[in-house]
């Protein structure tokens, strides 16, 4: 099915797209049909700067997405708090 559900996050950082690095302003997160990944549904994240076509996209299986969340939390948790902004 098409889930239609979409979550948004305002983000600050950079991503590397087809034309090189650019500043990111938002992430769109949804669990729906992938374009490329060999799965019926995937957790998809589009990192963008708001301009169409300026996008860093990933399509992850649900298990992979949870592994990624856990890895991010481990990485953030392993450094001194004063380094985190």
């Amino acid at each position: 099915m098409c889930t239609y559900t979409t979550e948004f996050a305002e983000i600050t950082g950079s991503g590397k797209g087809r034309d090189g690095w650019f500043a990111l302003s938002s992430a769109t997160v949804y669990y729906d049909h992938p374009v490329h990944a060999p799965a019926e549904h995937t957790l998809n994240i589009d990192f963008t700067d708001g301009r169409p076509g300026h996008r860093v996209a990933v399509e992850l299986t649900a298990t992979s997405a949870r592994e990624l969340v856990a890895a991010i939390e481990r990485a953030l948790g392993s450094v001194p708090a004063e380094l985190l902004t």
């Binding site: 099915m1 098409c2 979409t6 049909h33 996008r55 996209a57």
Partner: protein, 246 residues
């Protein structure tokens, strides 16, 4: 045998008179024939959807598939445009109707037109095909596993689209529906309810349901592809188009 075909990206007037991109395919011959509006699925105006357009052209119809995300990302790759469309909140029903109406007008204006036009959509396009059939002058409609035709999404999901129950009495043409029995949206119970509503109102419909198939069984480039269901489904579509727009 004349089996030539033409296919190209064109511009049509969509909702509000906007010039939007569309993919057009049709036989090369000049004989009169019906038209098909193909509504792409939520992942957008992609390679598979264009293949489906060309399939119906091979079957002898003029086909137009409006790019429903054109306004969100003019000139972008289909997957980037789909992502932008999603980020912008999806395709509003009113805009969808305007874009499909523009595609219908384009088809009826072709020198080869016989005046008859059907609509077909997959996935989100299935619901949109039913929506179009309740509001526009069409001779046939094909709903391939469209969700949220008779049911709303759970309230916690806060989705923008509503079910079409209040519009179904306005259905103006025969409806062909194809559904996988392993699908959850629409589930077999949702399809039962749609069939019940149409039967009670004596609205012409023909449904086919497939065991062992879930959502997206026509999608030949996806793991959900079920060749037996798809082959049988395409035979029903061919017969339906021959009867309604041939």
């Amino acid at each position: 045998m004349d089996d030539g075909m033409r296919a190209a990206t064109i511009r049509i007037a969509g909702a509000g008179g906007d010039q939007i991109e569309a993919y057009a395919a049709g036989p090369a011959g000049t004989g009169r024939r019906g038209g098909v509006v193909l509504i792409h699925h939520m992942p957008g105006y992609d390679r598979w959807s264009k293949e489906v357009a060309r399939r119906f052209a091979v079957d002898g119809y003029d086909v137009v598939m409006p790019n429903l995300y054109h306004r969100d990302a003019p000139g972008a790759d289909p997957d980037d445009a789909a992502a932008a469309g999603r980020a912008n909140g999806g395709v509003p029903d009113e805009r969808l109707l305007g874009d499909v109406a523009g595609a219908i007008d384009h088809l009826r204006g072709l020198d080869t037109a016989n005046g008859k036009v059907a609509v077909i959509g997959h996935c989100s396009g299935g619901r949109q095909a039913v929506l179009a059939a309740c509001n526009l002058d069409l001779q046939g409609a094909v709903d391939c596993y469209g969700a949220f035709v008779v049911n709303d999404a759970p309230p916690e999901r806060q989705l923008p689209m509503k079910n079409l129950v209040d519009q179904l009495p306005n259905l103006r043409c025969p409806l062909l529906g194809m559904f996988g029995n392993e699908d959850a949206y629409p589930s077999p119970e949702h399809v039962d309810l749609l069939e019940k509503i149409l039967t009670e109102r004596e609205l012409e419909h023909e449904f086919h349901r497939y065991d062992g198939a879930g959502h997206g069984f026509f999608g030949a480039d996806r793991p959900s592809y079920r060749p037996e269901a798809a082959v049988d489904g395409y035979q029903h579509i061919a017969a339906f188009f021959a009867r309604t727009i041939g």
